[in-house]
């Protein structure tokens, strides 16, 4: 049985305090006493909005918002990327777009995240998976749905899967996710 938590989570936030204890006089003894003072800590907020460009990868997101899954391919060698690269890693040549929506796909590796980065904590537990495609040399990182995250099993590796697309695109790689393939 898993151990029950014995500690409450630590969070920031709280009251604003006015008036910090400090010696009334700044005589040598009082100043020397400051060496024994505990540190003061303040909260600093930092928010920023970035304008991120998908650059040469942009067509992938346009495709996903139209329910197509694209990869890229070196035109000469045929080396194929499930996660698109604008240029081939071996030849340096510009790649071309190919449609891999209908390719047979399987789970190559996975995990169930019971914790996560702050942004994704509300979504836990969720399943991350690397997907392999028939005739494609590299993998694709995605969310796997339709499996019970509390019943994780190595048997999931090799499972046939198929893509599903969000109806309302967010222009993120999570516009596509995978589910167990229908027989």
């Amino acid at each position: 049985m898993a151990k029950l938590p014995e500690q409450r989570p630590e969070t920031l936030g709280g009251y604003i305090v006015h008036g910090i204890p400090f010696p009334v006089e700044t005589d040598p003894d009082s100043l020397a006493f400051l060496k024994r003072m505990a540190p003061l800590q303040i909260e600093q907020e930092y928010r920023i909005t970035y304008l991120h460009s998908y650059g040469q990868d942009s067509p992938w997101f346009a495709a996903a918002s139209n329910r197509r899954l694209l990869g890229t391919q070196d035109p000469k060698s045929g080396y194929t990327y499930a996660t698109p690269r604008g240029h081939d890693m071996f030849s340096g040549e510009e790649t071309r777009w190919i449609d891999i929506t209908e390719r047979k796909a399987h789970v190559h590796a996975f995990t169930v995240c019971h914790f996560g980065s702050e942004e994704f904590l509300p979504e836990t537990p969720f399943v991350l998976a690397l997907i392999e495609f028939e005739g494609v040399n590299t993998l694709f990182l995605t969310r796997l749905m339709g499996v019970d995250p509390l019943e994780a099993s190595l048997d999931w590796i090799g499972m046939a899967v198929q893509p599903k697309f969000l109806r309302n695109s967010k222009l993120k790689p999570t516009d596509v996710y995978f589910v167990p393939a229908k027989a």
């Binding site: 151990k3 969070t11 190559h108 995990t111 019971h114 994704f120 991350l128 040399n137 993998l139 790689p173």
Partner: protein
């Protein structure tokens, strides 16, 4: 290249949070220790050091750009030359090697490598978010960016491919935590069992909280010197233990940021480009690997760290090491996860690919004379992470690789008992050791060899 010696080092107390001091003052703790260990004072060392290399990973954690120059200033090193290096979790290892280059090239005779990280300034899960930004923010981070998740995916593939078990991984956690029980610098001092590891909260299946290192505040410094630098330090009144500790090999490797892009090469390519000399020259090992490939294994995929293999092979060639398991007296490696220690055994040639699990539970990587409460089938051969590693010591990223260098230098000096006030972790007659520093999912990896000067 000129001979390079690691003449002194210091490590601050690693802790969950160090609000008592600013990051500059935490570095000075480690710095003061290192120069005091040379029997020099602050002005005395300032007069002999030529310059520095600074190591810290993230500007996000401190919300302070150019933190390195603030440390350089605080240590009284301006206007001497200095620069910052950054390469994720391998930042400390890269810093050590950049300082090595400064000496080996003749650019400097005495060089200070210092590293630090203050990870406590944000909450744990925000810290995990910062770390996850060290993955492709177009393709990886938005899917659920979480480093523990990335490593967990890598090890599920290792388990499927090679039959590795969670109990084998838990042996690493038990070993490293119990080693750290004798290390006063360690953040965690706990005696765990295999059951404790498995029953601790699941973080990213199959990795539990005790399979994963913690975030830390801390600093470490290493002082490197040429033969002329050694003479200069001693002429200024410094005392350096003999025999000297010489850095005899450095190696580095890299790999694609996106795990999904890592290749899956065929058997012949593996043998030609990645096998160790030892593996290549053994008929039995070639046959072993052929069977793996016949069953579908490809390299490195996501189950192995190609950068670690490249770094190890390069460093071993540089240092003249043919049989790492027997030619090294100890290894301090980057065990951010129990799984990555097990995978690194294979990358560094301590065992063959696919044998990391049985190796972890064999006893070969354990310290002799330490009671782990485990029935281990074999005797220690090459202790791995005798200090307790990242899992128990903590992982203030920029300091970690330098902490390893300090502990390795003390092992070879034979001064662990003096520095730890406990000789239990001194590897007997340690002549040669390796330190291994590793960045996110194996993107940058460094291996450096330290050994006793003949």
């Amino acid at each position: 290249m000129r001979p390079v010696f690691a003449v002194s080092g210091g490590v601050s107390k690693f802790a969950k949070a160090r609000p008592d001091k600013t990051f500059q003052a935490v570095v000075k703790e480690a710095y003061d220790y290192a120069i005091a260990d040379l029997s020099l004072d602050f002005p005395g060392f300032t007069s002999v050091v030529d310059g520095s290399v600074a190591s810290y990973f993230s500007d996000h954690f401190t919300r302070q750009l150019m933190a390195g120059i603030m440390v350089q200033d605080y240590l009284g090193l301006v206007p001497k030359p200095g620069h910052r290096v950054e390469g994720g979790g391998a930042t400390g290892g890269l810093c050590f090697q950049e300082a090595w280059k400064s000496i080996a090239s003749g650019h400097m005779d005495v060089c200070l490598a210092y590293g630090f990280e203050t990870m406590s300034h944000v909450e744990t899960w925000k810290g995990n978010e910062f770390i996850a930004l060290a993955s492709d923010i177009s393709w990886d981070y938005p899917v659920g960016g979480f480093y523990s998740g990335y490593y967990a995916m890598m090890v599920t593939r290792h388990m499927k491919e090679f039959g590795t078990t969670v109990e084998q991984m838990a042996h690493v956690s038990v070993k490293n935590h119990i080693n750290a029980f004798h290390n006063p610098y360690a953040q965690k001092k706990e005696r765990y069992t295999i059951q404790d590891v498995r029953s601790s909260p699941m973080v990213a299946w199959p990795l539990t909280r005790l399979d994963i290192c913690v975030m830390s505040d801390g600093a470490a410094v290493v002082i490197l010197a040429s033969e002329e630098g050694v003479r200069r330090i001693e002429a200024a009144g410094g005392k350096i233990p003999r025999p000297l500790v010489r850095v005899t090999g450095i190696g580095r490797g890299t790999d694609a940021m996106r795990m999904s892009d890592r290749p899956h090469v065929d058997f012949d390519t593996f043998l030609r480009d990645y096998a160790t000399e030892q593996e290549r020259s053994s008929n039995e090992t070639r046959s072993y690997y052929k069977k793996l490939w016949d069953h579908g294994t490809r390299y490195p995929g996501v189950h192995s760290f190609r950068a670690g293999r490249a770094a190890g092979n390069m460093a071993y060639k540089h240092a003249g090491i043919a049989d790492p398991l027997h030619d090294l007296d100890f290894v301090e490696l980057h065990d951010a996860y129990t799984s990555s220690e097990l995978q690194t055994y294979e990358d560094m040639g301590l065992c063959r690919y696919g044998e990391g699990g049985p190796f972890a539970a064999s006893g070969k990587a354990f310290m002799p004379g330490v009671d782990y409460g485990l029935k281990l089938p074999e005797k220690p051969v090459c202790p791995v992470n005798p200090s307790g590693g990242l899992i128990a010591c903590g992982h203030p990223v920029g300091a970690t690789g330098l902490m390893q260098a300090v502990f390795a230098a003390w092992q070879i000096q034979g001064t662990v008992g003096k520095h730890f006030a406990d000789s239990r972790l001194q590897v007997k007659d340690a002549r040669r050791g390796a330190i291994h520093s590793h960045a996110g999912t194996g993107t940058y990896v460094t291996v450096s060899i330290l050994e006793r000067e003949a």
